[in-house]
């Protein structure tokens, strides 16, 4: 039998227990034309189960002194719960019902579809979200990571209750579940909890990994999200990054931290400290189950947007061509190794690191020997990772701003653009 994997971190410092139940089936499994299905399934779990109505479930969660969050990601959907220790048994009973016997009530289903459409409209008010959404849509074009987890108006309309039932039946099996428990429980208690959590799920093998790494972008692409009355611009610039399975991941992560990962990084110094252009200026190397994005983020005043992009591209070129210095490497190693203490200072953080190894297909010792990995990075490896993985020619630039005011200057600021898309902020 393929049962759930279990990770436990015991700590009796506080009378609090955290439980995460992750199902290895995320939005990447949404059928074509049904973007948003996984998130709908995740949200339907708490809207009726085992004879309880949505209202009864919510009342139960609150009266136990619990918090429940159910989220859908590209490759997982996860139920997170925090609960006061004295109520843990009652919460586990509820979670088992919620995972194994959701009713997918028709009335609640219709209500959730309408609520989701309202959220899609509301999300357009958030410029940062618009920038991220359009950056990922273009960067991951043709790959599931480019699809909206929340769905679009047309795809939400296309989802039926049968789709929801089928998704649940297909993916919610014991073999596809991983569980993390942290806090005031013993290992033995956690094992019993784990068994009870999946007791209403059918057995079943692990999920097949059908996802491939996203392909690199071809050429420089600008996507300009046109929104009226903007006083500043949200700007994301980036390309496909690396994955912890890749040999260059830790060297690239280290070099990215020098470039834009701290308050004194190159980007922060040049964009914020020296020029005062943007409240924040950062660069990040994200990963998912497959390679995700390397991305820079700034948000200058509209009048400075074109110049800011120009400086960012120059800094990127410099970073690619000359790399980081030995002094910068020594500094960032001290920062990353010492600040690692805050990645593991609570039982919940520690247990989630273990869970991530499984869910995101990380090397076994990615987190547990993180400090050793960082210490082992050489200057040559860091700079090679930057020059080989980061492309200045193949990248996506996403900007949210008022096109008639800054569109022309922005286009002029970016040499060798292969394609320019101007989209209305409410297009999707």
């Amino acid at each position: 039998m393929n049962g759930p994997t279990l990770y436990v971190e015991e700590s009796c410092v506080l009378p609090l227990v955290s439980i995460a139940v992750a199902v290895r089936a995320g939005a990447s499994t949404d059928p074509p034309g049904k973007d948003g299905l996984t998130r709908i399934v995740a949200n339907m779990l708490r809207r009726g189960c085992g004879g309880m109505t949505s209202q009864q479930i919510e009342d139960r969660i609150d009266s136990l002194g619990a918090d429940l969050l159910i989220e859908a990601g590209p490759s997982t959907e996860t139920v997170h719960a925090d609960v006061i220790k004295r109520s843990v048994d009652k919460l586990v009973d509820l979670l088992a019902l919620l995972l194994g016997e959701p009713t997918f009530d028709e009335v609640e289903f219709g209500r959730l579809l309408r609520e989701t459409k309202g959220e899609i409209v509301e999300a357009r008010d958030n410029d940062r979200w618009l920038a991220v959404r359009n950056f990922r849509r273009v960067l991951f074009e043709g790959h599931p990571y480019g699809r909206p987890i929340r769905g679009r108006m047309d795809t939400i309309s296309a989802i039926t209750r049968d789709d929801v039932v089928f998704h649940h039946r297909r993916h919610f099996t014991q073999g596809r579940v991983a569980i993390a428990i942290a806090g005031d429980v013993t290992r033995d208690q956690a094992e019993l909890i784990s068994k009870r959590l999946v007791s209403r799920l059918p057995e079943g093998g692990p999920s097949p990994d059908e996802l491939s790494d996203p392909p690199a972008t071809a050429g420089r692409r600008l996507v300009f999200v046109d929104k009226p009355d903007r006083t500043q611009a949200q700007i994301l610039i980036g390309s496909i990054g690396s994955h912890p399975r890749d040999e260059d991941f830790i060297p690239l992560h280290t070099a990215t931290t020098v470039f834009g990962g701290t308050f004194t990084s190159r980007l922060m110094r040049e964009i914020r400290s020296n020029r005062g252009w943007s409240y924040g200026a950062s660069a990040r190397l994200a990963y998912e189950k497959k390679r995700d994005a390397f991305c820079m983020w700034t948000f200058p005043a509209s009048k400075d947007a074109a110049e800011c992009i120009k400086v960012e591209l120059d800094l990127l070129e410099l970073w690619r061509n000359r790399g980081i210095t030995a002094r910068e490497l020594a500094f960032v190693k001290r920062y990353l190794v010492r600040s690692h203490a805050f990645d593991i200072d609570t039982p919940n953080k520690r247990v989630h690191q273990k869970l991530d190894v499984e869910l995101f297909d990380l090397p076994e010792d990615h987190h547990s020997r993180y400090a050793d990995h960082v210490q082992a990075v050489t200057l040559q490896a860091a700079n090679q990772a930057v020059s080989q993985r980061i492309s200045a020619a193949d990248m996506v630039i996403a900007i949210v701003g008022t096109h008639r005011e800054i569109g022309e200057t922005v286009v002029k600021a970016i040499p060798a653009l292969a394609r320019v898309d101007v989209v209305a902020y409410d297009a999707e």
């Binding site: 919510e58 609520e115 500043q232 948000f299 005043a301 500094f331 010492r338 203490a341």
Partner: protein, 455 residues
Amino acid sequence: MSQTAVARMLRALNENKADALCVVHEADFPFGPAMTVRKYRLGNGLTVLLLVDPSAPVASYQTWFAVGSRHEKAGKTGLAHLFEHLMFNETENHPAGSFDRALEEAGAESNAATWVDWTFYHENIPRDRIGLVIDLEAERMSKLVLHDPQVTSEKEVVANERRFRVEDDIEGSANELLYRTAFTTHAYGWPTIGWMQDIQSFTTDDCAAFYRTHYAPNNAAVVIAGDVREKEVLARIQKAYGPIEPSVVPIEDVHPEPPQREERRVAMSKPTATDKLAIAYHGPAFGDVDHVPLAMLCEVLFSGRSSRAHRAIVQQEEIATDLRGGLTAFRDPGLFEIYATARPSRTADEIIASLDSEIDRVVSEPVSNEELDKVKARGELSLLQGLETVGGKAEQIGFYHTVLGDPAGAFDRLEAFRRSTRSDLLRAARRYLLRERRSIVIVHPETKPGARSET
């Protein structure tokens, strides 16, 4: 540590020291069932609040100054917040940038926050680097260097922060207008980030005067929570902060808000598809006996999917997509705030009508026992979640000390939650949730200027 051991430690620390440098033990505060916050004071007035917590090899170091936007004057709004930015610049012994660089090299997480009543700076740091933080924080409390280019650049950064949080953010704009409408007299009516015109007109002299007045040991509390040795930390603090002179903190020119006698409504338009709504009823101060029952009532109405208003307005009537409520935790009387986003084709007026029937209900009849029990359970969970990290513990201690003068106030508040009755909530509803005491901001979609799509 026993009282005798504390006395012995202080005798050793204070031996052959002038009175101004001596450390005095003022009180102990039980912090939950197993921990204690120990309160000390230096001769120059600096309060030190220490919680030894060996649960992880880290520590949190926070400096809370009793100055926020309420201490500013009209025409100089945003100075407390701008100054928070400037505190990360040059000092007499450290060139620009070296403060952050040194902390990062030590593996620290560092940031700061300014609000209406206070400003605080925090560093989370591996336990063996705590001495570095003490030295750096003491240095910038008294030896900050202010030059025109730094002030000019930081003003531009803050202007960009304002564009991000207010000008280009619908809720930020609505919130600012709501406070300006609700408070006609009290300094809570202007935004902590400041009006744009004020931000752009500050001079280096304004900043220097603010620093001399408010950044002094007798206007601050240092909070340390984590795996530290009490005696070593106190000795280092004594050495680093002891020589800093206290300032004469001026008596605050406070203007209490007069009672509001009729509802105020204002409207604005933004590029958005749906109506937005912000409502504020005048509420009690954080230390008022009514604050806990009104906060509990707010939970009954707005906390999560099981709350009354969410259930009615979002789930059953389907008028709104988003609905939230909260009660401010201000030293002077604050606001009971409600924010909502209408569904496409529904209106802010429909949300107000539905909200009014929910408010009328809590004013006319008591909440149920089950609702009261839910709120008490949620309050307990929320406190526990806030104590998971040393940073969370230090923040609870610093906030409650600065606003209420009680470093362990979080636990007292939990007890007040447990003691509260249905009639307490009814009394709070009838005292505060009155229509003539509220202000309403409605955001309407502006006419769409033909946004186009080209690909």
